[in-house]
């Protein structure tokens, strides 16, 4: 059910209920989403919740309008992006991916250590080779050498990684289907074990994806120097 944004009889904006982004839009906690329908809902709700439209209303209504529309914008921004949507759901389920990552980064900065990154097993060989090539590139640059074939090799690895990156999104979407099916079968909180397993798979995909993204970024930086 959509959270009661408006009074049923007079239509005025109501104070925001503590709600999650999914129920704000009247959506179930499922990961597959019709983005076009979401956009349509977003515009419709914007027309009614935007502060511009309550500029002449009471101060209290204006405050609620401000809160509701910022919630609307935050919710829309999060739900329409596949990765943000996944991360958000994981957070609702108690998995704080970003906070964990940030905490690790801060700790690394504080101690001066390099942040520990776990290399995804299926990429071990590729990453190992790539790191060696990047080292070689760095050394070449220091002595002023230019090795186009080396650059070519590195670029090939990069392209392969980027393809893997795309592939991971598809893998993630297959886990969405599993999650949604689990919700359909058993909406109750009790099916914990099954959900936990699916959550685990999604976390794993996101971590691998992040790793690749960071690596590609480092490669791009090295190639540009």
């Amino acid at each position: 059910m959509r959270a009661a944004h408006f009074c049923a009889s007079c239509g005025k904006v109501q104070p925001p209920q503590p709600a999650d982004y999914f129920s704000f839009f009247g959506l179930p906690l499922k990961l597959t989403l019709d983005v076009t329908a979401l956009e349509k809902d977003f515009y419709e709700l914007s027309r009614r919740l935007h502060p511009d439209l309550s500029a002449r209303a009471s101060t209290r209504e204006q405050e609620w309008s401000l809160e509701q529309s910022s919630l609307l914008n935050d919710a829309y921004r999060t739900l329409r992006d596949p990765i943000k949507r996944t991360q958000y759901l994981l957070r609702l389920e108690g998995v704080e991916l970003e906070e964990q990552s940030k905490a690790a980064t801060e700790q690394a900065r504080a101690t001066g250590e390099v942040k520990k990154q776990i290399v995804p097993p299926d990429l071990l060989e590729e990453v190992f080779e790539l790191n060696m090539q990047l080292e070689e590139l760095k050394m070449n640059k220091q002595v002023g050498d230019d090795d186009p074939s080396l650059v070519g090799e590195i670029s090939k690895h990069k392209v392969a990684l980027e393809a893997k990156y795309e592939q991971l999104l598809q893998e993630l979407q297959s886990y969405w289907k599993e999650w949604d099916a689990a919700i359909d079968r058993n909406p109750a909180e009790s099916a914990v074990a099954e959900r936990t397993q699916i959550i685990g798979k999604m976390v794993d995909v996101l971590n691998r994806r992040n790793y690749i993204r960071n690596l590609v970024r480092d490669v791009n930086a090295a190639l540009e120097e």
Binding site: R47, D52, R56
Partner: protein
């Protein structure tokens, strides 16, 4: 019952305008000199009375220390930021400025903060609107460059308040322009607004559909505009003069302003002529003459206009669009009249830009549309809604001097983010937070917005308190912060030290006309103006009585005129400005034939509301502009 008027104001670097929605169409309200544009020039005369707009321009040349222009460049900025500006503009910073104090500049023996100077311009616009409506104006929508940061926006809002206006909304200039465009065209599609004004550059990409104006991405440069072109030309002229005539005029304020006036005229002329000749009288009887071709001009300004390319590319990238996906490019700002700028835009977006709308007025017209929407809307605007974005990422400084971005640029506003903080020491009662705006990694490379002290955290062991801090960017693009310690539920007290702004108390003390007296002040002003009109018309009538046309009137007509004249003189002694105006109208009515007769006898008429020969009356406001007849209830 009086209608409440909400106006739209374009507070520009070079020119300012006020507009409102008349039925289905936005219109610009002229000043008392009949001109739509009010130059953003402020001067203080010998009696320390403010002079705004066209009349202030002569001060720039004759007594430059009594005048200031392009004050928008200083809004929301600290003295450390404006060092470049100080080299190029004759801003005189107050000598006794303390570190961390709000910027103050010297003007005619006094000092003012930039919001106070902007407030004088706003007050002039307010008065122009009030004269036009014949009613008080207390509410306005004011536009700001899309790329203005939080401090610059706050400064603009403060200026409004000081001028006695409740600023209902700050609207981004390109978005406002798109409203004027969209109202006009009523078409769906993706538009890019390229806004190159006197001091700022903005590029915004919007999606228009079914009355919704949704900004997808925005970018810009708040120190890039026509002023930079002018300064380049001034520098070249000064160098020329030093070389050719062995005369160093860089410190001669009057000469620099005379040169500035000349190069601006030349720049404008070169948009329609292939070449132009500078011819300036210099002190000491010398003269500077130089011919500039449009080609030379274009070469000179190329590096300046090239600076608009980067932001355009970034905006397209952020919007995830290619130039060919843009349906229309709308040009805004006087500088877009330069042919080279249009050529650059055409090349970047691979289409002819839309030049139908007046680039000087379109922002004010759009602000009027937004003012109408906020006021409840009319038939024309009932389906219109603006969804704008914040132009800069909002971040918090964390360990290591790094910025942690919590709201990303181009997020639709209102937008919010929540962060959790805790304490390092047992019993720690305060937590310090440094908020920044910008895209860079390091805090020192971003703009410092404010430092917050969360006070009153209940005493607990280190690491136990969980303070939830909510950052909210409202529809004006301005940041609000609230905080709550979760375990105790206590609202933490937030002390805001805005990095470059005024505190609420400071703004209160600067308000020009207090709100309580606004109605009274307005009424008194109306009485003064009505009485001035009475003086004008009575003097004109005296002159008319001596003219041959007077003899051509019937004795009945003359009796009627005498009667109306007597009535006007009587009512003029009272305070009822509406009654005075009615009496003026009545006298006008019965002297119409006399006026016609006088025209026929080739004597210029003053009885139809035109200004009399000024030397007879001395200084005073001119009669109301014939086109802008005040409305009365």
């Amino acid at each position: 019952m009086s209608t409440e008027y909400i106006v739209g104001i374009d507070l520009g670097t070079t020119n300012s305008l006020v507009a409102f929605m008349q039925g289905d169409t936005p219109v610009v309200i002229p000043g008392d000199d009949g001109s739509n544009l009010v130059p953003s020039v402020v001067a203080l005369d010998e009696n320390s009375q403010p002079v705004i707009g066209n009349s202030a321009r002569k001060f720039l040349i004759e007594t430059p220390e009594r005048a200031v222009y392009s004050i928008k460049r200083l809004m929301g900025r600290g003295v450390e930021d404006i060092q470049e500006e100080l080299k190029l503009f004759p801003f005189r910073v107050a000598e006794d400025l303390q570190p961390g104090e709000v910027l103050r500049i010297k003007l005619g023996g006094k000092t003012f903060t930039p919001p106070e100077i902007s407030a004088l311009i706003l007050r002039q616009l307010k008065r122009n609107a009030e004269r036009y409506f014949g009613a008080p104006v207390m509410k306005a929508v004011i536009t700001v460059p899309a790329y203005f940061n939080d401090a610059q926006r706050q400064a603009t809002k403060d200026a409004g308040r000081i001028a006695g206006l409740e600023v209902l909304r700050l609207v981004n200039e390109p978005t406002a322009a798109s409203l004027a465009y969209g109202l006009d065209k009523k078409q769906n599609g993706i538009i890019a607004v390229y806004d190159l004004g006197g001091g700022t550059f903005d590029i915004s990409i919007l999606k228009l559909h079914d009355g919704i104006f949704e900004v997808i991405a925005t970018n810009g440069d708040t120190h890039l505009g026509g002023d930079d072109i002018d300064n380049l030309l001034i520098t070249i002229a000064l160098d020329d003069i030093r070389g050719d005539l062995d005369l160093d005029l860089r410190r001669n304020a009057e000469a620099v302003q005379a040169i500035r006036k000349a190069v601006i005229e030349a720049k404008i002329a070169l948009s329609s002529q292939p070449s132009v000749k500078l011819d300036i009288d210099l002190p000491g009887g010398k003269r500077y003459q130089r011919e500039i071709s449009r080609e030379q001009f274009e070469q000179l300004i190329q590096p300046i206009i090239d600076r608009t390319v980067g932001p355009c590319k970034q905006a397209l990238k952020d919007a995830n669009l290619k130039p060919e996906q843009i349906d229309e490019v709308v040009l805004v700002g006087g500088s877009t009249r330069i042919p080279k700028v249009r050529a650059l835009v055409k090349e970047m977006f691979q289409r002819e830009p839309h030049v139908d709308l007046n680039p000087d007025e379109v922002v004010a017209l759009g602000a009027a549309v937004q003012a109408n929407i906020l006021g409840g809307g009319s038939e024309a605007t009932q389906n219109m809604l603006l969804l704008d974005v914040t132009p800069l990422s909002l971040g918090i400084e964390v360990a290591g001097g790094v910025t942690d971005k919590i709201i990303l640029r181009n997020s639709t506003i209102p937008a919010s983010a929540t962060q959790f903080y805790t304490t390092q020491i047992d019993g720690q009662a305060n937590v310090a937070i440094h908020v920044l705006q910008g895209e860079r990694e390091l805090a020192k490379d971003c703009r410092s917005l404010a430092r917050f002290d969360l006070k009153g955290i209940p005493p607990m062991a280190a690491g136990i308190p969980r303070v939830e801090v909510k950052f909210l960017i409202d529809a004006n693009g301005i940041l609000h912060v609230s905080a709550r310690e979760q375990r105790s539920g206590k609202e933490a007290d937030i002390q805001v030290q805005p990095s470059y702004g005024l505190t609420d108390d400071q703004v209160e003390s600067m308000i020009l006309d207090s709100f309580d007296n606004a109605e009274e002040d307005f009424r008194r002003r109306q009485v003064i103006e009505a009485r001035n009109e009475t003086a004008t018309i009575l003097a004109a009538l005296e002159k008319a009585k001596k003219s041959p046309a007077w003899a051509h009137l019937t004795s009945d007509e003359r009796k009627r005129i005498a009667k109306m004249e007597k009535a006007l003189i009587e009512v003029n002694k009272e305070d009822d400005y509406q009654a005075i105006r009615k009496a003026i109208d009545a006298l006008n009515q019965c002297t119409m034939r006399l006026a016609e007769l006088m025209m026929d006898t080739a004597v210029s008429s003053a009885l139809k509301g035109k200004t009399m020969d000024e030397t007879d009356l001395g200084e005073g406001p001119t009669a109301p502009h014939p086109m802008a007849k005040a409305e009365f209830k």
